[in-house]
C-alpha cells in the first residue's frame, strides 16, 4: 500500500504527464513552426524552445493543481463533493436568489440614476446603452430558449428584420420612430411565424441548425437585395430619434422646435444620448415585465411545460405547434423592437452588424445567465459586453477571455449563473409546509 502522499503524487504525476502530452500535440504544429516572410517567398522557422517552455509550464501547473487538490481536500473529493470554488459560486447564487427582489429594485434605481451621476460621461452612457440592448435581446431570446426550450441560433435575424424595417419605413414612407416601432415588431414576429411554421416540428439539434441557417439567409438576402436594402453599403442617414417630434439638434429645422429650446436648456450633444439611454432602458424593462407576467399565464406555463415534456403536453390538450409558434413570434417581436432601436441609435445599418457571432453572444448571455433567469441575463450581458469593452487594450485576448468565461461557467455552474427557478405560483407562502425540501 502506498502512503496517501505517495498515491497523491502518483495520480498527480499521471495527470500532469497526460496534460503535457496534449499540450505537446497542440503546441508542436501551432507554436513550433512559423511561417515568415523572406524576400522572394516564405520560409518556415522552428521554435522548438517555445514548445518546450510551454509544455513545461503545463506540466508543472497541472502537477501543482492536482497535488493541491489531492492533498488539501482528498476526502471531499472522494465523497463526490463539489470543489471549494463551486461551493463559493453556489453561495453567491443563493445570496442573489434570496435578495433578487432587492437587487432588482436597486438595479433599476441605479439604472435610472446613472445619467445624472457625477462620474457619468458620454462614453459610459454609450457603453450602458450597448449593454441594455443586449439585456433586452437576452430577455427576448430567453422567452424562446429559457422558457420554451427551443434552441434558436438565428435570433439575430429578427434583430436585423427590426432594424431594416425601421430604416426602410423611415426612409421610404417618412414614418417616425414611434410609428415604425410597432410595425417593426410586427414584421419581426411575422418572420418568426414564417420560420417557425415549417421548422418547429424539429427538435433540439435539428431546430438549432435550421435556425442558424435562417439567420444566415436573412443576412445574405440583405446583402444581395441591392435595390431595397442597399446591399453591403447598408442604409445610412436613418432618421435620428426626436423627443416626440422635437429634434435633438442645435438648430431646429424649419417650423420645428428643438428639444433644448422646448426645455429652455443650453444645447448639448448629451441630451440625445441620455434620451436614447432612457428609451432603451424602458424598452428593456417592458420586455422584462412582459416575460415575467407571461410566465404566470397559462400560455407561459405551457411554454415551460413544453420544454419539460412535449408528449405529456399533447396528452393534456395543449397544441404544441401553436404554443411554440407563439413563443417564437413573441421572442422575435422583442428582437425586432431592439433592432429598431439599434437602427435609430446608429443612424446607419449594414448586414455586417447582423452576423452569426451576434446570435452566439445573445445565446451565450441567456445560457451563462441561467436559462429562464431574468436577473442572470443582466449579469451575463454586463459581463460579456463590459469585459471586452474595458479590455480593449488586451484586444487579442478578448476571445480568449470569452472562452474562459464559458468554460468556467460550464464547469462550475453548468445550469448557468442563476439556475434557480421560481415557481410561477405557490400554494403555500415561502417557508410554509415542507417548504425546506421544495425547489432545488
Amino acid at each position: 500500500m502506498p502512503t496517501p502522499v505517495g498515491a497523491a503524487l502518483r495520480t498527480a504525476l499521471k495527470e500532469a504527464a497526460i496534460a503535457a502530452g496534449v499540450a505537446l500535440i497542440v503546441a508542436l504544429p501551432l507554436v513550433g513552426f512559423r511561417l515568415i516572410d523572406i524576400t522572394g517567398g516564405v520560409s518556415i522557422q522552428t521554435r522548438f524552445d517555445w514548445v518546450v517552455y510551454g509544455v513545461a509550464v503545463v506540466f508543472i501547473g497541472r502537477l501543482g493543481l492536482a497535488l493541491w487538490r489531492e492533498l488539501r481536500i482528498p476526502h471531499a473529493r472522494k465523497a463526490g463533493e463539489a470543489s471549494s470554488l463551486a461551493i463559493f459560486a453556489e453561495q453567491i447564487a443563493a445570496f442573489t436568489r434570496q435578495y433578487s427582489l432587492y437587487f432588482g429594485i436597486v438595479g433599476a434605481a441605479f439604472a435610472f440614476a446613472l445619467p445624472f451621476m457625477p462620474f457619468t460621461d458620454q462614453y459610459i452612457l454609450d457603453v450602458a446603452i450597448t449593454v441594455l440592448i443586449y439585456v433586452m435581446l437576452g430577455w427576448g431570446l430567453n422567452i424562446v430558449v429559457g422558457l420554451a426550450g427551443l434552441l434558436d441560433l438565428g435570433y439575430v435575424a429578427f434583430y436585423a428584420v427590426g432594424a431594416y424595417s425601421y430604416a426602410l419605413l423611415a426612409q421610404n414612407f417618412n414614418l417616425t420612430f414611434w410609428e415604425s416601432l410597432p410595425l417593426a415588431g410586427a414584421f419581426a414576429a411575422l418572420f418568426g411565424l414564417l420560420l417557425g411554421f415549417p421548422v418547429l416540428r424539429l427538435r433540439g439539434d435539428y431546430l438549432a441548425i435550421v435556425t442558424l441557417g435562417f439567420g444566415e439567409m436573412i443576412r445574405i438576402i440583405l446583402l444581395n437585395w441591392q435595390s431595397l436594402t442597399g446591399g453591403p453599403n447598408g442604409v445610412s442617414s436613418i432618421e435620428r430619434p426626436s423627443f416626440f417630434g422635437y429634434p435633438f439638434t442645435a438648430v431646429a429645422p424649419e417650423g420645428k422646435t428643438a428639444f433644448h429650446e422646448l426645455m429652455g436648456l443650453e444645447f448639448s450633444n448629451s441630451h440625445r444620448v441620455i434620451f436614447l439611454y432612457f428609451l432603451i432602458l424602458i424598452l428593456a424593462l417592458i420586455t422584462n415585465a412582459f416575460s415575467v407576467r407571461m410566465r404566470r399565464l397559462p400560455l407561459g406555463r405551457a411554454w415551460e411545460a413544453l420544454r419539460e415534456d412535449e408528449i405529456a403536453c399533447r396528452s393534456l390538450g395543449i397544441n404544441p405547434t401553436n404554443t411554440k409558434l407563439s413563443a417564437f413570434a413573441l421572442g422575435a417581436m422583442f428582437g425586432g423592437f431592439a433592432g429598431s432601436f439599434f437602427a435609430t441609435r446608429q443612424g446607419f445599418i449594414s448586414p455586417e452588424s447582423f452576423t452569426f457571432i451576434e446570435s452566439a453572444v445573445i445565446l451565450a448571455i441567456v445560457v451563462l445567465g441561467g436559462m429562464g433567469s431574468q436577473f442572470g441575463v443582466v449579469i451575463a450581458a454586463a459581463f460579456l459586453i463590459l469585459v471586452p469593452e474595458f479590455g480593449r487594450d488586451l484586444a487579442q485576448f478578448r476571445m480568449l477571455m470569452f472562452g474562459f468565461a464559458m468554460v468556467a461557467i460550464m464547469v462550475w455552474r453548468p445550469r448557468g449563473l442563476i439556475a434557480h427557478r421560481e415557481p410561477s405560483m405557490r400554494l403555500h407562502p415561502v417557508g410554509g409546509p415542507e417548504a425546506a425540501k421544495a425547489g432545488s
Partner: protein, 285 residues
C-alpha cells in the same frame, strides 16, 4: 353500429409497424362509468392500443368511436391534442411523464390549460390581469387544491414534481389527467412499482374516480390484485389479438387466458408464482 350504453367503441382496430402487427383486428366496447381493464403478457399491444386511442399513433385500420351526448366523435380522425381537448380522453404513461422541473401545483395548472387559456383570452386578459381571468385562475387553483387533497399532496404542492417519491409521482400523474376533466381516463400500468400499501390506496382512488367523478376508466395493469379487485370488466390481449372479454371471474377461469400466460404446453400444475400473478387458485378443482 354503436351500442347505446357504450362510451367507447373500438371496432376492428389494427395497427401495423412495417411487418409487425401489434394490434390485430381488436373490437371491444367500454361502458360509461365503469372500470375496464386491459391485460395481457408483455408485448401484447396494450400500450399501442392506448397510443391509438389518444392520437399518438394513427391506426392502420379501424374505427374508434367516442360518444359525447348525441354525437359520436371518431378519434382516429382527430389530432392528438384535440382528443384530450375536445373528446375528453386523458391518459397517463407507462413511464411517468410529469413536468419534473415544475412544481406539483403547476403540473395541475398546466392540465387546465384549455379552460385557463380561454379565460385569459389567449393572454390578453391575463396580461392586464382582468377580473375574468383572475376568477378563472382562482377556480383553477381551487380545483388543483381539491385533487391535491385527494391524493394527499397538499402539503407538498410547491415541491418540484421530479423530487417526489415514485408512488406520489404516479398519483400526481393521475390527478393531472383528471384535471383535464375527462370522460375517459386511460391509465397505463398505474400500479407498476408501488408497494402493497400504495396499491391499495390506488384501488381506492380509482374507485373514487369511477363512483364519485363518474368517469370511465380504461386500465392497463399487470398487478392482478388491482385488476381483480376493482375492474367491472376485463379484456385480454395476446400477440395483438383479443382472446377474452368478460367479468373478472369469467376471465380468471378462462382456459385460453391461462394458456396465454403459461405458454402453449398443457400444464396441470400451475406454478404458484404464476398462479399469484393471474389470480387463479394454484390447484384448480
Amino acid at each position: 353500429m354503436t351500442t347505446p350504453d357504450h362510451l367507447l367503441d373500438v371496432e376492428h382496430l389494427t395497427m401495423r409497424f412495417g411487418g409487425l402487427t401489434a394490434i390485430d383486428d381488436v373490437s371491444f366496447g367500454a361502458a360509461d362509468r365503469q372500470i375496464s381493464a386491459i391485460i395481457g403478457p408483455n408485448g401484447a399491444g396494450k400500450t399501442t392500443l392506448f397510443n391509438c386511442l389518444t392520437g399518438f399513433y394513427k391506426p392502420t385500420v379501424g374505427r374508434l368511436g367516442l360518444r359525447r351526448g348525441s354525437k359520436t366523435l371518431l378519434l382516429e380522425r382527430m389530432e392528438g391534442f384535440r382528443i384530450a381537448q375536445q373528446a375528453g380522453v386523458a391518459r397517463t404513461f407507462q413511464n411517468i411523464r410529469l413536468f419534473p422541473g415544475m412544481t406539483v401545483l403547476e403540473n395541475l395548472l398546466v392540465a387546465q390549460h384549455t379552460a385557463l387559456m380561454r379565460a385569459s383570452m389567449f393572454s390578453l386578459a391575463g396580461l392586464f390581469r382582468l377580473p375574468v381571468f383572475r376568477a378563472a385562475e382562482r377556480a383553477a387553483v381551487d380545483f388543483a387544491r381539491f385533487w391535491l387533497d385527494r391524493i394527499g399532496l397538499l402539503d407538498r404542492a410547491d415541491w418540484d414534481a421530479g423530487n417526489l417519491p415514485y408512488g406520489d409521482q404516479r398519483r400526481l400523474e393521475i390527478a393531472r389527467a383528471m384535471c383535464t376533466r375527462p370522460v375517459l381516463l386511460c391509465l397505463d400500468e398505474p400500479a407498476a412499482g408501488l408497494n402493497p400499501r400504495e396499491s391499495a390506496d390506488l384501488n381506492e382512488l380509482l374507485l373514487y374516480i369511477r363512483n364519485e367523478q363518474k368517469t370511465a376508466v380504461l386500465l392497463i395493469e399487470h398487478d392482478m390484485s388491482v385488476v381483480m379487485g376493482i375492474s367491472d370488466r376485463i379484456i385480454v390481449l395476446d400477440y395483438g389479438r383479443k382472446i377474452a372479454d368478460g367479468t373478472p371471474s369469467a376471465v380468471r377461469n378462462d382456459p385460453v387466458v391461462i394458456r396465454a400466460y403459461l405458454g402453449e404446453e398443457e400444464t396441470d400444475e400451475i406454478p404458484p408464482e404464476i398462479a399469484a400473478e393471474i389470480g387463479v387458485a394454484a390447484k384448480r378443482p
